[in-house]
């Protein structure tokens, strides 16, 4: 971070407005910034603060016809971007400014091969022949450390894992060595471990090519790891701007301080001061899961017989006491969600699940319905888990209606109380899910889950998609409610820092089995299984002073849980290494 020469991108007094039902609304107000060659600029801030809009404005890709630049100038070198027509802008996009989007799953065209998607932008911007473009694409893939680059060219996006897809996106963006790379939350959708790899990659490449990067993120850990300079945004305005170390060390704006305070940190969990290890063992268990198996049959052959099976959950046992939070952690695809779904009655399973003394697969219809009341679930994506065509008030009232509270008045009152309880105002009951911010939506989901006063709430990645400040508020809320109602949580997350902050006990899953389980302190301060250790190491630390040189890397791909019939996976035996700290022998 020695003196960097000329600015490559300057934004002056940018305003972006969006047309809405009651006229135009400004989503970016009076934003100015300068990006210098070779620099990494992080834009952080809460959800909806206009980060993506700023990025899209630079690309001239604002959603049409709703959004437009209402004032301001954007200069790339000497070129004024806002004045360019589409044809000339097209030549700049991809060639001089490239962009990586948040969602690697949907940002690649599912029907075109990786190779095609890589070469087409090369062909569009250079006069290289098809073969040369192919060579360039292979190099780009190699640069992002994708193995067997040549044969990958023929693969399709769905054949790659999320991390690989994001790497392909990066390769695509970097193939033409752009002057500026805009990365809009490039790792939010990824596992910690994969996130580490991707960030490292970005840093490497930037150093090699001297690309300037605008990195948009709400993860302060990522900011600390990556940024030279930081911009903090809120409500479409820049609230603070400065060198990374300054911002972390001496935040000026109130909001920045709030934001930093909200960041969960391993070891210094802000949310939980007292350890509950000392508390007396709780009496009855809310939920008891014994030897849970979930297998998905894959059919084949002329007669559609089962030929292969996905062993998604293989003999998982655990129990949760009232007022307790059990965290389930592990990499993508290890079976966390499937375990949750089994508990919620969404997938057929074998084994026993007993909730509040009643077996989930008990005989009576009414009984099953009663158990249903006791287990509620909060999903990862609050938007996807709310019917977009219903008003949120109705959505929250629905469980009440289903479980027999028929008086309209009573329902209304209870919903209003619930809204109040989760920090929403009751006049928001009339709105539709898309009219809320992510955090608010998650609150709606929580209100919904609480409506029936369940004994157990399953939170499947419930805060992963939220920005830190909102995340912190939601976590607080969950804790509040636990204190108040004594609910137990099964908390599923891949964010070790969050887990460290909220859980009483932790279970680490790998390939459908639990490899380590114990109290939070047992697992975090004394991780015994190598897999657990790697997970913990992969978490970026929100402190620029403690920036790591390399992230810990996991194995390239997780082995598959799919097996042929009759080849059941080996069962891991858990042994107690003291005080109920269970660890699997390394296999």
């Amino acid at each position: 971070m020695t003196s960097t020469p000329e600015p490559i991108l300057t934004i002056a007094n940018l305003r972006v407005s969006v047309r809405g039902e009651e006229g135009a609304r400004e989503v970016v107000s009076d934003l100015s910034l300068t990006l210098k060659r070779g620099q990494t600029l992080c834009i952080a801030g809460e959800s909806g603060s206009g980060k993506s809009m700023t990025a899209l404005a630079i690309m001239q890709l604002l959603p049409q016809p709703a959004a437009r630049i209402s004032a301001g100038k954007i200069h790339l070198g000497a070129t004024e971007l806002t004045a360019l027509d589409d044809r000339r802008m097209r030549r700049i996009r991809g060639d001089r400014i490239a962009m990586i989007f948040q969602e690697p799953m949907t940002s690649l065209n599912p029907v075109l091969s990786i190779g095609r998607q890589l070469t087409e932008s090369i062909e569009a911007h250079t006069s290289l022949s098809r073969d040369e473009a192919r060579q360039r694409a292979i190099e780009a893939l190699k640069a992002v450390r994708i193995s067997e680059a040549e044969s990958r060219l023929r693969q399709f996006p769905h054949e790659l894992s999320g991390g690989m897809r994001q790497r392909v996106m990066i390769a695509m963006a970097l193939a033409l060595e752009p002057d500026v790379l805009i990365a809009d939350e490039p790792t939010t959708a990824l596992d910690v471990t994969v996130q580490g790899e991707v960030l490292e990659l970005l840093r490497d490449l930037q150093q090699k090519h001297g690309t300037s990067v605008i990195l948009i993120t709400h993860d302060m850990g990522v900011v600390a790891e990556m940024a030279d300079r930081v911009i903090i945004m809120r409500h479409g305005r820049m609230v603070e701007e400065g060198k990374t170390s300054d911002i972390f060390a001496r935040p000026q704006a109130h909001y920045t301080r709030e934001l930093l305070a909200a960041v969960p940190r391993i070891g210094s969990g802000a949310g939980r001061q007292e350890s509950r290890d000392a508390e007396p063992p709780r009496p009855a268990k809310v939920a008891e899961v014994t030897d849970l198996h979930v297998r998905f049959d894959l059919r084949g052959g002329v007669f559609g017989r089962v030929t292969r099976r996905v062993h998604a959950v293989e003999g998982v046992s655990f129990s949760i006491a009232p007022n307790e939070t059990l965290a389930l952690v592990g990499e993508s695809g290890c079976g966390k969600s499937t375990t949750a779904k089994a508990l919620a009655g969404l997938v057929p399973y074998s084994g026993d699940i007993v909730v509040g003394g009643r077996n989930l697969s008990g005989p009576g219809r009414d009984e099953r319905k009663a158990v249903r009341r006791d287990v509620q679930m909060i999903f990862q994506d609050p938007y996807a888990s709310l019917d977009p065509r219903m008003r949120v008030g109705d959505l929250v009232a629905e469980p009440l209606l289903i479980h027999g509270i028929t008086s309209k008045e009573e329902r209304r009152e209870r919903v209003a109380a619930l809204f109040d309880r989760v920090g929403l105002s009751s006049d928001q009951m009339e709105l539709y899910p898309h009219e809320f911010s992510g955090g608010q939506r998650q609150r709606v989901c929580i209100a919904r889950a609480l409506a029936l006063r369940p004994k157990l709430i399953i939170a499947d990645e419930s805060v992963s998609a939220l920005d830190v400040s909102v995340q912190a508020r939601v976590l607080d809320l969950l804790k509040e409610l636990q204190r108040e109602f004594g609910v137990a949580y099964l908390f599923i997350s891949h964010d070790m820092a969050v887990v460290e902050n909220v859980s009483d006990r932790v279970a680490v899953m790998y390939l459908g089995q639990i490899v380590e389980m114990g109290t939070r302190d047992q697992v975090f301060s004394n991780p015994r299984h190598p897999y657990t250790r790697r997970l913990i190491e992969a978490v970026p630390v929100p402190d620029p002073a403690r920036r790591r040189s390399r992230f810990a890397r996991l194995d390239q791909e997780i082995p598959s849980a799919t097996r042929r019939i009759g080849e059941a996976p080996l069962k891991l035996a858990l042994s107690d290494v003291g005080n109920g700290h269970l660890v699997a022998a390394e296999g």
Partner: protein
């Protein structure tokens, strides 16, 4: 004990306010209003048919044909001309609106209803119910539709309602197929899982949550179905298994006279335009309804 939780109003937009009803929002749109007006005219025409013109729809007037027996072109006396039997075309089109509304709306509606029901059920319940329903749909789809209609209509004695039911029985299949595909993908959506975890019953999920999402598809198929069914009725009439003469329907007016499209173009043009207008009107309404009923489209012009 209850520590106040910071109200999350960060993105608090749009204060709750009384929302205009669907109807009011519908009439606010120019095109939708046009559609409504057309439908209203057709319905009014159908109801008021006997009083609107001075003619009887079945009166084969002596002065309705030339000496050589040719129909008369539109004139002050016969606004839309006369048909091959010397009947007033306008009167017949007005009376035909009754038949065509029954076919285009009732029969088509029933087809849409059956198709949706079967498609939704099969798409949501995998297992044997879904399998059986879809195999049955495949079976029905494998029938050449016209042939099936002919056989059904010939087995029963033709009458307007039988014809309507036959058309419904033939036309639900495609809808079922399309709805099935969409439902199966909807059923995978997370919010459906969320509904299940709160213990929502299958009918509730199907009808309160899945159905509204199918609306755009249903609207497209419904509006396209109007002209198709009206013309199918005509084909059946032509085969002698539709509504029986002299009952008028827009479709059979066209079919009776189609060979005369050069000699007496008005006989084909006017009923054709009527069918088109009705289908278009419903499409305009449908398009608007689709936007209005889709809350995510709120704010769009």
């Amino acid at each position: 004990m209850t520590s106040p939780i910071a109200p999350d109003l960060t993105a608090g937009r749009m204060p709750a306010k009384a929302r205009a009803g669907v109807w009011r929002r519908l009439v606010k749109r120019r095109l939708a209003l046009l559609g409504l007006v057309i439908v209203a005219i057709v319905v009014a025409g159908a109801i008021l048919a006997p009083w609107l013109t001075g003619y009887d729809p079945n009166d084969q007037m002596f002065d309705g044909l030339t000496i050589e027996g040719s129909p008369l072109p539109p004139s002050a006396k016969f606004w839309l001309g006369t048909d091959l039997l010397g009947r007033d075309l306008l009167t017949r089109i007005l009376h035909g609106a009754r038949t065509s509304l029954i076919i285009g709306i009732v029969a088509n509606g029933v087809a849409l209803f059956i198709g949706t029901l079967v498609g939704v059920t099969a798409g949501y319940f995998r297992g044997w119910i879904g399998g059986a329903l879809m195999r049955f749909t495949d079976l029905m789809m494998a029938f050449p539709a016209l042939l099936l209609a002919i056989c059904l209509a010939a087995v029963f004695q033709p009458s307007l309602w039988i014809v309507a039911m036959v058309i419904a029985l033939v036309n639900w299949v495609q809808t079922a197929r399309v709805i099935y595909t969409e439902t199966s993908s909807l059923a995978e959506r997370e919010f459906i899982d969320a509904e299940r975890t709160i213990g929502a019953s299958a009918p509730r999920i199907l009808f309160r949550h899945i159905l509204p999402h199918l609306l755009p598809t249903i609207i497209v198929w419904g509006t396209l179905g109007i002209s198709t069914t009206v013309l199918l009725e005509a084909t059946l009439s032509f085969l002698g298994i539709g509504v029986q003469p002299p009952t008028a329907s827009w479709g059979n007016i066209i079919f009776e006279n189609q060979t005369y499209f050069q000699a007496a173009p008005w006989l084909v043009f006017f009923p054709g335009a009527a069918i088109l207008a009705l289908a278009l009107a419903f499409n305009l309404i449908g398009d608007a309804l689709r936007d209005i009923l889709d809350p995510t489209q709120r704010g769009r012009e």
